[in-house]
């Protein structure tokens, strides 16, 4: 039962995040999406995934709230209650196939590795390379924003 409630909440908050007119409310609905996703992970036993989803979601939302406030048009129209009700209804209807239908076949286990083994022994090189990629991306963004600030190209 809890999985069904979480999946309905996930799709309703996703619909609201996309189609509500106010940017701040839209980001608030996106925070609901991240929260429901993390709860779904944790209920299904993927606790590490839930923690990472929560941490990444909080960081993204902090930036989105700031940029949403900074970049949004203050005179944007407000969302009508009828539209909100329609969006909630659409979210509920979209979640019905996931609740009542099934397309998954049997799953095959390829590895019995624990999370720690899988992360550090099987994918150790990937983790190091990902860290390098993120460092490069951060450096690139800092350069772009610095050039903009100093009036460069």
């Amino acid at each position: 039962m809890i999985l069904e409630v979480l999946s309905i909440g996930l799709l309703v908050s996703a619909c609201l995040a996309l189609f509500v007119d106010e940017p701040t409310y839209s980001v608030a609905a996106l925070s609901g999406t991240f929260l429901f996703t993390a709860l779904l992970y944790s209920v299904n036993g993927a606790v590490y995934a839930a923690i990472f989803q929560f941490a990444v979601g909080v960081g993204t939302l902090a930036i989105l709230f700031l940029s949403g406030e900074m970049l949004s048009n203050k005179t944007a129209k407000k969302t009508s209650p009828a539209k909100i009700a329609t969006l909630i209804g659409a979210g509920v209807i979209l979640s019905l196939p996931a609740i009542f239908l099934s397309v998954s076949g049997s799953t095959v286990t390829y590895s019995d590795a624990s999370f720690g083994d899988a992360l550090w022994n099987l994918n150790g090189l990937d983790v190091v390379l990902q860290a390098l990629v993120i460092l490069t991306v951060a450096l690139g963004i800092a350069i772009i924003l610095h050039e903009r600030k100093s009036g460069g190209r």
Binding site: F19, P23, S26, T37, L71, S102, L122, N123, A138, I141
Partner: protein, 104 residues
């Protein structure tokens, strides 16, 4: 309860939002929803077969997703500051006018 259909629904919502919304912030949210749908499918299949490998790969997917989000947000800020709007149609219109001025 089928998580493949749930993640497909998330993907469909994200793609629909990507095609219909003209605000850059909403486009970014659509991309986030698509990424969430993909990772949801990934984690649920991994956790249903009881292995840690899926969760480990998810951590790597999250780092890529975060880097992608950072790049998109930086571009969003730059474009909005430059053109004074976050509407894609208006930005394209201004970009076209700037191009025709440069040609003249």
């Amino acid at each position: 309860m089928d998580f493949v259909i749930l993640s497909l629904a998330m993907l469909a919502i994200g793609i629909f939002g990507l095609l219909t919304n003209r605000q850059l912030l909403k486009v970014f949210i659509s991309i986030e929803l698509i990424a969430t749908g993909a990772t949801l499918n990934f984690v649920m299949l991994a956790s249903s077969s009881g292995q840690g490998l899926g969760q480990a790969l998810l951590v790597l997917a999250f780092s890529t997703d975060t880097a992608l989000s950072a790049v998109i947000l930086a571009l969003l800020v730059i474009v909005t500051k430059r053109y004074g709007t976050s509407n894609i149609n208006e930005i394209l219109k201004m970009y076209g006018e700037k191009d025709s001025e440069a040609e003249a």
